[in-house]
Symmetry: T
């Protein structure tokens, strides 16, 4: 409501299942140590290939959270 300040951290989440899950993994990790998570933005989507298949989906995200005053 008032004049909040937000901090942004940049993480890369990885997953064997897909892009949405890679994002969720990054957010879950951030939530372990940060409170007041507010939004995320996808920066880059890529992945590691093994044997001609996607072994890990990797999504770089920025995660914003409200700082304590």
């Amino acid at each position: 409501m008032s004049e909040h300040v937000y901090k942004i951290v940049e993480l890369v989440g990885s997953s064997t299942q897909g892009t949405d899950k890679a994002i969720q993994n990054a957010i879950a990790r951030a939530a372990k140590t940060l409170r007041n998570l507010d939004w995320f933005e996808v920066i880059e989507t890529r992945g590691h290939l093994e044997n001609g298949k996607v072994a890990h989906w990797q999504v770089k995200v920025k995660i914003g959270f409200r700082m304590e005053a």
Copy 2:
């Protein structure tokens, strides 16, 4: 076939389920009032977080449709 002109509208679709569904929601809304929808392009993917989890996936898309001559 002949020299068509296309118009582009920019929407943000949101979904509690995932990025693909957010795109589909934006397109479904556009289809309510526009005809001849032809293609979409993803511009930005982000989302709203609540309690350390993705509450809403939000995808900004451009949607192109053929204009009547």
Copy 3:
């Protein structure tokens, strides 16, 4: 380990199912003729619309593979 060189090819995969599947289709096609596939990067996500719905998801990817020395 040593000073490898990697080549990058650019493909567009399409799918009727979703963005992740479109990526996988592009990689599967590359794996038919290229060995040592190592990573991919998403360049652009778009799709073709028919009857107000997504008919084909189309994802442009760059795929990197290690070149034989």
Copy 4:
């Protein structure tokens, strides 16, 4: 709350006073005909010069508003 869709319109506001006022003028004009305005993003800042001074500040903004379901 639920799965809203937002539309984005692109305007250029101008002002003889400054950049913030140019943004406000664009939003005020949008508010005349659109409801549920939700956010704006600055795309480009420029201006017209006359006699070696800024005659008009011009700010291109995207304005997002919630569409009726």
Copy 5:
């Protein structure tokens, strides 16, 4: 002169003749329903190929027009 506001629409013009004609086709279509057209900006140039030749030149443009007060 005073503090005008401009709106921007995004169109794709196509032409069998060339890029400049594709731009003109987009503008001609816009001029059918919009007044006070003021400027355009080219966003993207592409085209459709058939039989190893350009079948349609396609130019995405933003067109700005002055809004009524």
Copy 6:
């Protein structure tokens, strides 16, 4: 003078007054816990709208500070 290393943090400052004030709020918050703040760069300017007016100006900035050796 010698070979310093700088760290960059990314914040979003908000303000009800304007863009410059939103930047200053982000910097003031950073200055509470970080020393040797050296420069900032504006990454994005946006804002939240309520009742057809700017309720909060939001400016995303990168802030650089010299690290202790």
Copy 7:
């Protein structure tokens, strides 16, 4: 119709006549060895100057073609 995969090659066409002709030259060269050419995108337009005039127009294009299954 089904789940095609497209490959993209990047060429620079040059011409003494103009930008559209430079594009056509690139496509004509691609058509000598590739089948199923489908679309092109302009990436960059530049040229070589001699005696204060354009000696060669040079246009970098990406050309997409459907891969055999």
Copy 8:
């Protein structure tokens, strides 16, 4: 009216007061030696920090002016 050519110079204006004033300072300096200034575009906004506050706002602008025929 006729086929003018414009030249663009790139300056960084600085100010202790704010971003708009930094722009104005750059334009005032350009106006000392250049005639027919026509428009400016903001390229980058940054600033120098001292004691946890903005000491100088710095705005990089491109300034266009009509060349004598």
Copy 9:
């Protein structure tokens, strides 16, 4: 041949005829006062509209020339 240095100037050429001619007008103007012009790059293509038609095509170019040693 040896270690030349090149300078780049940025101009906007305009033309009533088309984009290629606007580029040529900018280069012709540069050639009036600069020697050893070597290459150009297109930065932006836009234009001014009057009565629903293109009145002036405007192309922003960077022009590189070899500096005297």
Copy 10:
């Protein structure tokens, strides 16, 4: 191997010797307090000039490291 999450920090390394050394200085500083450094990406290269020469090479890098689970 499993679904790791990586964090990215952004540093500017400086050096009197060259760009590669500036990168190495940033990484050496990061290695003092962070474990599991995995990759870096160059974001921007610039430098400070004194007496018409490069006094400090400055390279902005993002450095990624694997987070503890």
Copy 11:
């Protein structure tokens, strides 16, 4: 001299020594199988870290070569 067409391939060269050497390694590999190499452009510079040091410098380059007529 006449209307040549150039093809561009994208490679990533790696080196334990530095960025320039990584570029040279990519070019040397290309020269094994391609003739008439004409220019390169750096697209991205990154690297792999081990034990808090740069283990491999990795530079993504585009390499252009003149195609046989």
Copy 12:
């Protein structure tokens, strides 16, 4: 200290030795005719190839210098 204005010139330095030397050559040339050089930014790195090797490294830089009041 006070409200300085800086001008930016854009040069391409070339060198047979490497990227850092190409930057230094551009700056040395600028220093012949300009005073108060303050900083540089790398815009683009490319080079000319001969016989499958780098013949000239070419780096495009922006160089900023403080203008006399």
